[in-house]
Subunit: 335 residues, 2 copies
Amino acid sequence: MPSNKSVARKAETALTMEDLAKLAGVSKITVSRALRDSPLVTAETREKIRILASEQGYRFNVSARNLRMGRSYSVAVVVEMTPVRGRPMSDPYPLELLGGITQELTTAGYSVVLTSKQLMNTAPVQGADGLILLGQGSHGEAVRTLQQTGMPLVVWGAPEADTDYIVVGSDNRKGGISAAERFISQGRQKLVFLGDVDHAEVQERCAGFIDAMGGRATVHIIRPKAFTFEAGFDSISALLKKKGANFDGVFAASDLLAMGAIRALAEKNLRVPENVSVIGYDDTPGAASFVPPLTSVHQYLRDGGVLLAKKMLGLIEGQPVASEMLPTTLMVRQT
Amino acid sequence: MPSNKSVARKAETALTMEDLAKLAGVSKITVSRALRDSPLVTAETREKIRILASEQGYRFNVSARNLRMGRSYSVAVVVEMTPVRGRPMSDPYPLELLGGITQELTTAGYSVVLTSKQLMNTAPVQGADGLILLGQGSHGEAVRTLQQTGMPLVVWGAPEADTDYIVVGSDNRKGGISAAERFISQGRQKLVFLGDVDHAEVQERCAGFIDAMGGRATVHIIRPKAFTFEAGFDSISALLKKKGANFDGVFAASDLLAMGAIRALAEKNLRVPENVSVIGYDDTPGAASFVPPLTSVHQYLRDGGVLLAKKMLGLIEGQPVASEMLPTTLMVRQT
DNA sequence: AATCGAAATGTTATCGATGTCATTTTCCGC
DNA sequence: GCGGAAAATGACATCGATAACATTTCGATT
């Protein structure tokens, strides 16, 4: 019934290069070359075949190529999709990273296979050409398991001391430093750091912040467990109730904390930034439209995704690749 | 150099079923059957081969199977990863859906290929066995384009009138109704709906809400543009400033709006829920830990992802499949 | 013990694209 | 118009798994 050879094809069976070859009166290898932009084929032939292919609605068979090439041209991305202590689930950051990764890999001809730790042993993941891990917080154990597969591995997060895998992350330390520099230039003297320093990334922000201040101001650390508006509001409200509480700057580990803090200050008729200057972290979409527009440390997560992908491509192609931290930018607005 | 045949393999070339077959002293088809749990092979043989395979670190070649089977065993998921007007980017919902989709599809032996509208024409997407669209808001045009590919298509969102594709979504109308029922049981009389009804989903919630109230109370609609805490706070603050403002219930289109509203009420010393009862939407992770714990309409997004995947698997296997709306649950807490 | 049939295993061809090497065509300069 | 090199094209084998069909093994029955 299926007439694979006939020219009058109403193919319910997909077209192959061989079919195109017959239609064009050439051999299938020529078709292959034409579609791959090989210099081994005339521009004229190439065009003819290309047009034919699109007319006929030809669809390239990825599996066949992959089999032949001995590669899957796919990269597995392991995402922690369940909420994790500390990081609020509403954090869009895995999605931004994924966006960058997808953009870069797909453009390079790779597909992105989404997976999770529980699904690591499935065939599509095992067959991937590489592995990108978007962990939240500590990796350690997970990474070691993944390394045993021998696949190229790239990890998002904070670099740890003696690792031998590639890490890409946002430079939290520098983020803290940039906040400090702003306070220094404003001559602030009594500062508050607001955030749970048990959290590795927050720890870094705080450390960078304090180091950069270099004793030019006192820094009081408050560590709310959550990263929410509410937590920020409550922390600062509580602080303001204490006698002798007195500070002129707040550096918060998230924008929501910062917003909560600002609201708490406003309730006590403290003006931002005249009385107290506030800096947030993440530069979430709401920051710029907050009233007043929030000064915040911006992380280039999409770029982070792109960079993760680039490192992966480098590894796959056997190029030398190194870990890298992404810069942050202090978005100075009105707080 | 590569000693593909030797038993003392340090293979740098991956093992194939044929290799295993030689090692086991059987034919490769037997290996294939054993690894697939075919009933055509003795339990004994199967075990022997399985053990051998895992000892030898055999890795199944997906491309080869896919080529042979004429299927990719992959489903492309089109995600809108950039923030969209209305929906705050911090909304974790694409990620939750993705989690459900991935879990279900991967377990069924499919891989999930992540993509975006811009990347639709790439080979891995074109080669997928099906397409899941996670659109935010209206699809229309996008869907029509996708339908032309002839691939099985499943869409997340609100069902529209005359569509001929499968839609899975959360039943926003019922969500509104459940909020109304609660207010009715409490005997609330003067209600406020808080949310941008230009947004299709919000529109449905509002409509369900009003219909279910059935005139038992007045409903005043306020439509802040954003879904944020700030917007909720400001909306209710403004309302409270008006003379004659008087209401005993607020149904908000997002948890953040609801929280903002509660805060605004608190500032005016109005008690929740004694004076005013408040219901949020989404039951975001922060809702339960809010003070006071927020009553909210829960959407089963992860289940939504699973359902999307199931519909897709059904379509791929040629089973009859219908659109479906997921229930919502009113999580009654203290507001 | 011979026979039959089911169960277990094996043989061969195939999926579609591509590398290798062989062959043909084209285009020079003399 | 001819030799020869470069350019263009083609034939064949191949990647690894599986379906279809062929063969062998085994057990039960008479």
